[in-house]
Symmetry: C2
Subunit: 378 residues, 2 copies
Amino acid sequence: MTYRIGVIGGGQLARMMVPPAVHLGIEISVLAEAEGSSARLAATQVGDYHDAETVLRFAKDVHAVTFDHEHVPQDVLRALVDAGVEVHPSPEALFVAQDKIVMRERLTALGLPVPAWATVRGRDDLAAFLAEHGGRAVVKTPRGGYDGKGVRVVRSADGADDWFAALGAAGASDALLVEELVEFRRELAQLVARRPSGEIAAWPLVETVQRDGVCAEVTAPAPDADDALSDEARRIATVVAEQVGVTGVLAVELFETTDGRLLVNELAMRPHNTGHWSIDGAVTSQFEQHLRAVLDLPLGDTSPHRAWSVMVNVLGGPAQGTMADRLPALMADQPGAKVHDYGKDPRPGRKVGHVTTTGPDLEDARGRARAAVRFFED
Amino acid sequence: MTYRIGVIGGGQLARMMVPPAVHLGIEISVLAEAEGSSARLAATQVGDYHDAETVLRFAKDVHAVTFDHEHVPQDVLRALVDAGVEVHPSPEALFVAQDKIVMRERLTALGLPVPAWATVRGRDDLAAFLAEHGGRAVVKTPRGGYDGKGVRVVRSADGADDWFAALGAAGASDALLVEELVEFRRELAQLVARRPSGEIAAWPLVETVQRDGVCAEVTAPAPDADDALSDEARRIATVVAEQVGVTGVLAVELFETTDGRLLVNELAMRPHNTGHWSIDGAVTSQFEQHLRAVLDLPLGDTSPHRAWSVMVNVLGGPAQGTMADRLPALMADQPGAKVHDYGKDPRPGRKVGHVTTTGPDLEDARGRARAAVRFFED
């Protein structure tokens, strides 16, 4: 037999599943939203993932279906399961990642540390929450947000009026999520992978720097993370993976508060930007591990190659021309930089690529990664 | 712009160029010999590389053409160059790799150390060579050999009668190559990459173990290789690359004689089995470097990730079923093994995959790689 995997969504996460599939001899096919997607090399079909017929046709001959994103509707996911398709992560698990209120409810029920939160339906609710939390809060739309979209800091009860007005519309939620604005020392991420049969493997805890709500830089492992912190991060991710029944890669984004506690910020049930360093920096990358996990194959060694890996995102890309235009100068300057170009058109703020460096010295690796990425900025 | 590269030949070397192309944002297309080739994911055309029309059509929109093998006829290569296509390595360089007599002449003219050799056209020539070299010699057909095919040890003047009988036929050579049977301590390989503009990068010297004329195992770096030996290997490869004008990866297979000298055994002008360890074991793999070199992009850091890398070939593969059938047991036993399945049907002696391990301890890494490959043998 040959393992065959189907990926719904043609973005860079699907694209980066292609190299490990090639190496492991796994046949990979992608259902892309449009021609010319980032994962076009493996796109065997272009179609709408909201349409169950389309998705069922795509999934006909694969051993497992997985995802580039978390936006496939529950009824489509259920149709796949009803047709006997292995879907990883499962609809039940994905439901927890698809709705931030469901996620907060679930994490709270599991006894995991989260920021103070509430559901709010209008100005009065929001005013009450603000009064209790120092006059500042983070409001989030429960569904469809990513990379800082659907997230807003508010300091007055009228700060979310436009979102309140949209509540209850077709496909929209009937409430917003409001959370305390956490005073954090830094942001961290813990990635693990879990197989349907239960095995779990974890990468080292990493530090992430967000800029305008978008991941900008990741350092692996997180500097100055003692065993207690690392163990707590791994415990949290393991509880989520096991209790929610996540299969494939699970990313848990965390705040390290100024008083040294960990709070869960967000969950993602797929390879995640904070794990891209592992392509060049670990024995088993998050993309290879995701393929192994969703096919229920034993998981690989997650050890880093070198003491430090630093990943810097290319956000926007060159104002003129393409990333490729800058390669000669970048490569001449930074021979150790691992460049990843997602094959997407540059556009302000868009994630179009990343660069990873590894080495024995953190400042050196970080300096080289940042220097490399500057070649893609104008 | 986007870099576009065309690879002639759909074997595993073309297949393994796909992952770095995906990461670097290089559009890769492959002219495969048949449907279902190892590089099928990137095969945009199926056709005969002996046909200039076919190859010209394939090469129409790429920035450079390179190769999975060295068998493209000179007239086809010339037609590409005449049409203005960048061909790397060039027809002139490839000519030296395509004919073992031309290669021996060229290496000798460059003053590089080679085994004693002669051209022979019949029994009398061979008898004379045998008399001078202790009654034993290696006879090689100048063209078309690979993996031990077209190579034979002879101990009597009639040992190559069948090959002599075929001399002068259409497409065949008019002489055979005969070489002394070198008393060697071990076999080594030095890989370098060279850009058209002249830059050269070298990987560490590696030790190779051949079985029945086929590469079976590679250790990187070569154990107990002192600076003098490593420097001499690098000097030889650099002279060949520069003087023959090789572009892309050049592999120089070497004998380390029992009295400590290096002699050039074979040349290959493409990624080579003795460099497969670099996919998992070095900052820049031979496949990424080959793409960079043939596109005249600056070359990458060739440093190894860990002290040792060991690559073991999967020769033949399982007697029943596929490599994929064995993955669950292998992965459970060897979580650090990097498995490469070329997507080819198992067949006795055929190279169908390889496994690489890395680590701080050579015996441990070697043991793990060998243990992993045993899962693919019956």
